[in-house]
Amino acid sequence: MEMFWLIPLFPGASALILAVFGKWLPKKYVSWQACLSVLASFGLSLVSFFGLLRVSAGSLPVIKTLFSWVAAGSFNADLSFQLDPLSSIMTLVVTGVGFLIHVYSVGYMAHDNGYKRYFTYLNLFTFAMLILVTGANLVLMFVGWEGVGLCSYLLIGFWFEKHSAANAGKKAFIVNRIGDAAFILGIFFIFLVVGSGDFRAINGAIEGGAFTQGMATLAALLLFAGATGKSAQIPLYVWLPDAMEGPTPVSALIHAATMVTAGVYMVARMNLLFSLSGAAGQVVGLVGGLTAIFAATMALTQNDIKRVLAYSTISQIGYMFIGCGVGAYSAGIFHLYTHAFFKSLLFLAAGSVMHALSGELDMRKMGGLRKYLPLTYPTFLVGAIAIAGVPFLSGFFSKDAILTQAFAQGRYFLWALGLMGAVLTAFYMFRLVFLTFFGEERLDSHAKEHLHESPRVMTIPLVILAFFSVVAGYAGLPVVLGEKANLFDRFLEPVIHPGHEGHLSIGSEWLLILASVAVALCGIYIAYVFYLKSPRTPHRVVARFPAIYRLLYNKYYVDEIYNAAFVKPMVNGSRAVYDTFDLKVIDGTINGTAAATGFAGKALSFIQSGLVKDYALVILLGVVIFLGYLLF
């Protein structure tokens, strides 16, 4: 496990080879190399994980410093990697889910012209994400953070010949820049206070009292602003729904399982800082809670199958931030870990549906697909049940852990938001299931001709992910089943510094669990009534509340508001500056200089008569003057 720092290396090397030699490599070789490099990383992650279990908590984290990377005066950063329970879980999720998605992509992208480019980017993304989670200081983390942002941009705009895809890529990149600007300010501030970006040094400084509460709040909020960009939280979530323009496996890997959860990882990594500043925790929890419910309501009315899942992702990350906000960092990470399985499963299954329907995304043109897709349907159903929070599947355990902690900390408002979000989650997921797989067939005749289940290379990853969506939750059983039942919490204990954990009586724990179960089943039942039992109900509801429906259907007009408030003034302002300053002042100066030079040249050009004799006369004159000077 001393070799854990090699984990990012395999996909990185593979990406490099594909980028340089990809043109000459056969397609089959590209598939094998891309998948096996991630599998090798996964193997090494597993080895490191088991190695970590044998290491005593006192000697954590395991640090591997390769060399001094930046040394400029008092600013120092090493190229160093660290392994502790948190990064170990992250590497397992990234490489495990990443490997399955690589395999799935072999089938999904088989007929795409950009096949090699696609796997280059995907490998590069895995590399950057692994750097992000294994880096031992803020600088290296930031390198990974920007690297995944770049790959996200490249992959959203993968089909760049499509105008909307190119625009979506730009939108994602620019919105992320806003968050990243704050994030890098936060890093600078921490450097200013601590004098180092090393996580151990930062934690040591916090424990040593280098931060006052106000300073901690400032640093934590700046970092969290970066997280709202990357993890698509209010107010910077707008890029994620548009990011669905990318290939579906990309949505599964980057925009559901790994990259968008980087913000949660970062908050958990800096948990001492966030715990020290109570206010920052309040903000994190509130933003998470509001996002969870806000995004869930937007998911209710969307007809694009991937967009529903995108809003669902935003909402679920909101849950993770509720967990972090109430100090239950391990619950947040636990939800990150279970969410990676069931959300990538849902995306991949949605991709499989699209594949079967020749690229159809609109749920109004689906329906009754249950009997045509005998493997996609049950796996999708498992994912939907898991995310809805039905007991005994992974999503239930993790969501319940967060809500219980929110309640135990006395943050009843967040708990209520989460519970309401849970009803909505169950509702929109089963709306998706019923509209897609049940009911009458509303297929295009063209799509119906080509209707087929996906090849095995795509369905096997679905089955594996479905298996983990069921069992992954058993790593973190609720406290009611015994104090020691939550293996996940105990594993993370060396990283997550114990806060003031609220404790509830067994009775109230059971009550909370019952409440979670009740809302989940309630949401599913409402969806059943709306879309299966009496399919006219949705129309009646819409007719009853047209204003609310329009508001939700147009996503609260947030894009329009942002356009009017930020984009338009920026574009108009830039244009005004361009017209007045660039065109008149800068261009005027440049053109003026050129004109003056030209005029002077023209004025002096009479000297150049082009006649040999004139030149000779000037030489003679020069000689005479020179001689006269010498002689007299």
């Binding site: 002096l604 000297i607 150049q608 082009g610 006649l611 040999v612 004799k613």
Partner: protein, 100 residues
Amino acid sequence: MIPVGWFFGLSILLFVLGVIGFFVKRDLITMFMSVEVMLNAANLAFIALAKGSGSPAGQVIVFFVITVAAAEAAVGLAIILLVFRQKRSIKAEDMDLMKG
């Protein structure tokens, strides 16, 4: 024995003749010949000085000048020939391609 000063006098006379010829004549060949006259005026001055001072340096320089003048004559005549082919004229005032 003729005094050195006479040689200088002749040299200056030749040089001034060359300069006048260069400016008065209009065709390139005559101008070119005038340049040669000027060169040889300088050569004569060198030789006279070498004889007067007893140092061989001036004579050596004259050899160099003669060599260079030979090369220059070849190149110069070739240029004049080419100019004539282009313009059907060897009048100096017709060559004003470089007029600003």
